[in-house]
């Protein structure tokens, strides 16, 4: 019998995200961002993390503001709907956080190289750009077949990938749907994977549709049940993006003092995700729930 990997979010973060870890998050870009897990990292006062991700929306900004982060390897850190991430800005301008500047494609390829077990991947992007000056993982090479100049992107092998998805079983097999960004590469490249899920379902549900599995369960270290675990980002099939939360966060992060107050209210005073959801309130959650369902046709995997 396989062993259950189901655990609390607190236990998963405590065990599998030690200080100094290389952590990849926000792998579906604007959706399925593992905010509940990120907030637990802040609550447990993890330090010296390297955050890896294409665009993290405001999650990376929150972790930086809370003092968890040593460096960032990303294409973009900010607030998608408003622009700047103020904690990120302050931390980089004062030298408190180092940045390795990627593009979305170079970050995807760095993780794909990790996932493929090779040291780099070639691409034609970024040639002539200054990303090469602020990213030691990029170098130009000459293609041995064509003689073309190409960008070589060094592999990234994160210590842990943290992904939030729609449903998982207790053994780490899980389904994700919607736009998946770099989720597949990130999970395959990482030494460990933590899955947080809107629903924990019977293994038969996952087995019924293996095309929707984004990484094999045997690579997953922990599964945690986290309803609304991506709020304020959207989860296809569950809830919409909470635009107001992102607009509010612009004000709430403009100064270090404002951010401290935000952190006290939304993270420190919320000892558990249930407290966070209570703060959010039933009415707001009802507004975010899907209004229009759109089910796919079933497919036949028979033989």
């Amino acid at each position: 019998m396989a062993t259950s990997k189901l655990t609390s979010l607190a236990e998963a973060v405590s065990r599998f995200v030690p200080d100094g870890s290389l952590v990849v998050m926000g792998t579906a870009l604007e959706s399925l961002i593992p905010f509940a897990a990120g907030h637990e990292i802040i609550r447990q006062r993890k330090r010296g993390l390297t955050l890896i991700g294409p665009i993290s929306d405001i999650l990376f900004d929150q972790l930086i503001g809370a003092g968890c982060v040593h460096s960032v390897r990303a294409a973009w850190v900010g607030n998608v709907i408003t622009g700047s991430g103020y904690n990120f800005r302050r931390a980089v301008e004062t030298g408190a956080v180092d940045v390795e500047d990627h593009s979305n494609l170079t970050l995807a390829l760095a993780l794909r190289a990790g996932a493929m077990g090779v040291s780099f991947m070639p691409t034609r992007t970024a040639l002539g750009s200054d990303l090469f000056k602020t990213n030691p993982s990029l170098k130009t090479i000459v293609c041995p077949f064509t003689g073309d100049t190409l960008t070589a992107v060094a592999a990234i092998v994160p210590d842990v990938a943290i992904v939030h998805v729609q449903r998982a079983d207790e053994f780490g097999n899980a389904h994700a749907w919607g736009n998946l960004g770099v989720t597949r590469e990130a999970c395959l490249a990482s030494r460990r994977v933590i899955v947080t899920a809107e629903e924990i379902v019977a293994p038969e549900v996952i087995r019924s549709d293996p095309n929707r599995v984004f990484t094999p369960g045997f690579r997953v270290s922990a599964v945690a049940h986290a309803p609304w675990g991506a709020h304020p980002s959207p989860v296809p099939g569950h809830y919409n993006r909470d635009h107001q939360a992102f607009l509010d966060y612009q004000q709430d992060s403009q100064t270090p003092e404002a951010f401290t107050a935000w952190q006290a209210r939304w993270i420190e005073a919320a000892h558990h995700r249930d407290d966070y959801l209570a703060l959010l309130g039933d009415r707001r959650m009802a507004e975010l729930r899907l209004k229009q369902h759109a089910l796919a046709e079933a497919v036949d995997y028979g033989y």
Partner: protein, 262 residues
């Protein structure tokens, strides 16, 4: 009866979105960026370019406008009845192969050769960084790999500089032949849509010039807001105004004026 479009004059943002939409030709594969381009694609798709296909860096391809107004490309209506939901590397692969006709990006700083900076103002060393901006996202990829890209930005002297502090997204580098020399496979900026006008690039010198001016704006204003001696097209036309049909459509996509109220 056009209750949405009548009576209310168009805003500058509505003019810019319309100008962006008109850069999309029917049948184009469009790599759609954040903010105003989201609306530009919806507008083009609903008016003169019904066969355009939109590609989004999150891993979305769609051939119909989203059924409801969206604020970001990740909003769930933008996934509904998509043509394809996939991985970032998949859609970036389409781009790298040369399948993308046109893309849209924004920028904090742009120079006379259309190089774009969305990363560092000042230097790159701690202590020399005046402002750290969010970074590339997909912009560097779009500027490197699309057949042509369109830049959308506010026209201010602090943004229109002779040489950007950092090239996040390559334009024409230092002039003719630069893209070929560094190994970029194709492309380059085709237009810069600003709050004052539309600028294009000289085919020989690769330098930006003022190609049209928005109604109500003077050439002097555009020259003063540009940090180098800007060349101006002979017989400078006005940027075409949005038609009432375009305005009505735009106001359906952005009913609260979130992106287009000013």
């Amino acid at each position: 009866m056009d209750t949405e479009g009548e009576g209310r004059p168009y805003t500058r943002s509505e003019l810019m979105v319309t100008a962006a939409a008109r850069e999309i030709r029917d049948g184009d594969v469009v790599f759609v960026g954040m903010r105003l381009p989201l609306l530009g694609f919806q507008l083009a798709k609903s008016t003169h370019a019904p066969n355009a296909v939109g590609v989004y860096e999150l891993g979305i391809t769609r051939d119909s406008p989203a059924p409801e107004p969206i604020f970001t490309m990740g909003d769930l209506p933008n996934l509904y009845r998509a043509q394809w939901l996939a991985d970032t590397a998949d859609v970036m692969g389409l781009l790298q192969q040369g399948c993308v006709d046109v893309s849209f990006i924004g920028g904090a700083q742009v120079d006379r050769f259309g190089n774009l900076n969305t990363s560092y103002i000042g230097g790159i060393e701690p202590g020399k960084i005046e402002t750290r901006l969010p970074g590339s996202g997909g912009a560097c990829d779009l500027a490197s790999l699309a057949k042509r890209h369109i830049i959308i930005t506010a026209h201010e002297r602090r943004r229109f500089v002779p040489r950007v502090d950092y090239i996040t997204s390559p334009g024409y580098g230092d002039g003719p032949g630069w893209r070929e020399r560094v190994g970029l496979p194709r492309g380059g900026p085709a237009a810069v849509i600003t709050t004052l006008g539309v600028l294009r690039f000289d085919a020989e010198t690769r330098e930006m010039f003022l190609a049209s001016i928005h109604p109500g704006v003077t050439v002097r204003q555009a020259l003063d807001a540009t940090g180098w001696p800007l060349r101006v097209a002979p017989d400078l036309p006005h940027t075409p105004e949005p038609t009432s049909a375009e305005l009505a459509m735009l106001r359906r996509f952005d009913p609260q004026g979130f992106w287009t109220s000013s």
